[in-house]
Symmetry: C2
């Protein structure tokens, strides 16, 4: 059994490799929900959907999010209303682009939440509808919202990430509501019972960070440190995607695979770093982590499968 | 000043004629919201949208609802999830078809409601976005839900109208929540201050019925009976659209223009009936209503304009 702690794109690609290497029934993906948001009254779970769409082979790989062959009629039509909203309203905002077919996922999730279903149940239903066979769990069924401190105050993650194109410096990160959140059913058991727990090459601050902040998750991992393998999302001093590099730097962490080692050293017994960073292996090992050096740039699922096997060590 | 009490299609067509005959600033449409419903977490207001889209020239006239040139990607995609919903869930239901561009209207309305805006404010914003210049008011900002009694119990209006294609006999109608509803701001003033109040050729039971049940509306109309003009939605013993004919019959009302006269006789000083029903004029007048006989089948806006002028009498 393998548990994978997941953000969005990087985790989804790693999982796509893992389902080629192991039976899906051996895999549990525990996915960040700190990016979740309400838009136009709809419940949006970006990382869950990225994982689902990627594993279904339906993700738009060029865009990096949403569905292939998507259309945008609803969002284009929404723009008609934006000029009529009163001052202070955010209705009719089209900065967060939702494709027509993607909307269906949010409509289904919102409807089920209104019926009282838990996000974990709903995510399993959506995953089945796309033919996924691994176990897909949100980190929690409770609301957790990643808030990002910026120069002019604190903003929601999606406003930072999409609205401001993750281009403004951050002063801190807070996971609103996390103190009261409980891990979704199955999360702690997956950590306890897995032979290996993989921390995917996702943003350590805002993708893995919320997951580790859910009460009980960090504690469960601390007891399994020899079995915890993190994959560095920093390659050659840069994040392959998204603002992980700048975020780490702005929080005073060295922007390198060694910095990632420092970030995860209490939790992970092993760090997987890219071959371009091979020279950092001694520095990683000096921090008490086993270091695996391999190709981590998952340009296609074959690389992801090899990376997964190297990470899991079998 | 003219106030028009409105359901959906028939009222929208009459209004389309009226805006050709009078300055839009002289017109107030008060629209039924008993058909409103929540679907997939979205707030749907079918009659308000039918009026708006019709007056904007954007309605799909053949289909009778929704927008011209509409696409259906979201609903088609939603069907993927329907088989995965658990027993008892209604999520993923595609029986109520929402077009992609139409969805934008519901997203905007739902977002604004979540911001605390009143339906009357939102409806005005949506109307402005479509270039409407008349005043468009929901009958109330409070939730009223038309419930239809059928053989197997009581069902929501949309389940009766769309889900069962208004093809099952009704045993009664109830407007849930109406006792606590207040007329939207401007509704009673529009009735009090208008020179003529037109009851549109909408379903008397489930379109005009909820409107008259909002506390204060019937009372306001009773004081203006000589100025109240109803247009019969029954022509030649049949409803031009929808189940008004069967509903009246099932409630024991004669299915004819004379039956409509009986239905409205306390409220309306005048009934407009179609030329095909001209022979019923003496029967209508014997009930104490002035009877206007004219062409009421609004196959195109010119007919609607002439009907409007005949109804208003100028």
């Amino acid at each position: 059994m393998i548990a994978v702690l997941c953000g969005g794109v990087g985790a989804a690609r790693l999982l796509a490799g893992m389902v080629r290497a192991w039976p899906a029934s051996d895999l549990t993906a525990v996915v960040n929900t700190g990016d979740d948001t309400m838009l136009h009254g709809l419940a949006i779970s970006p990382d869950l959907d990225t994982v689902t769409y990627t594993l279904a082979g339906a993700i738009d790989r060029e865009r990096g999010w949403g569905l292939q062959g998507e259309t945008w009629a609803a969002m284009e039509a929404l723009g008609r209303y934006t000029p009529e909203r009163p001052a202070g309203s955010t209705a009719g905002g089209t900065w967060f682009n939702l494709g027509d077919r993607d909307l269906a996922t949010h409509l289904y999730r919102t409807h089920r939440l209104a019926e009282g279903a838990r996000l974990s149940e709903i995510s399993a239903e959506i995953a089945r509808a796309w033919g996924l066979r691994l176990r897909l769990l949100p980190m929690t069924d409770d609301p957790v919202r990643t808030m990002v401190g910026v120069a002019d105050g604190e903003i929601g993650f999606q406003e930072y990430f999409v609205g401001r194109r993750h281009s403004v410096p951050i002063t801190g990160v807070r996971f609103a509501g996390v103190e009261a959140a409980r891990p979704a059913a199955g999360v702690l058991a997956a950590i306890d019972e897995s032979d290996v727990i993989v921390i995917a090459p996702s943003n350590p601050v805002v993708s893995i960070g919320p997951l580790l902040a859910v009460p009980g998750v960090r504690e469960a991992l601390l007891g399994r440190r020899p079995q915890v393998v993190a994959v560095s999302p920093i390659v050659g001093g840069r994040a392959l995607k998204g603002p992980a590099d700048r975020m780490l730097g702005e929080l005073g962490v060295p922007v390198s695979a060694a910095g990632v080692a420092r970030w995860y050293r209490d939790l992970a017994g092993t760090l997987v770093i890219d071959t371009v960073d091979g020279a950092l292996a001694p520095e990683v090992e000096a921090m008490g982590l086993r270091c695996v050096v391999t190709d981590t740039v998952m340009s296609e699922p074959g690389v992801a499968g090899a990376l997964a096997r190297a990470a899991v060590g079998r």
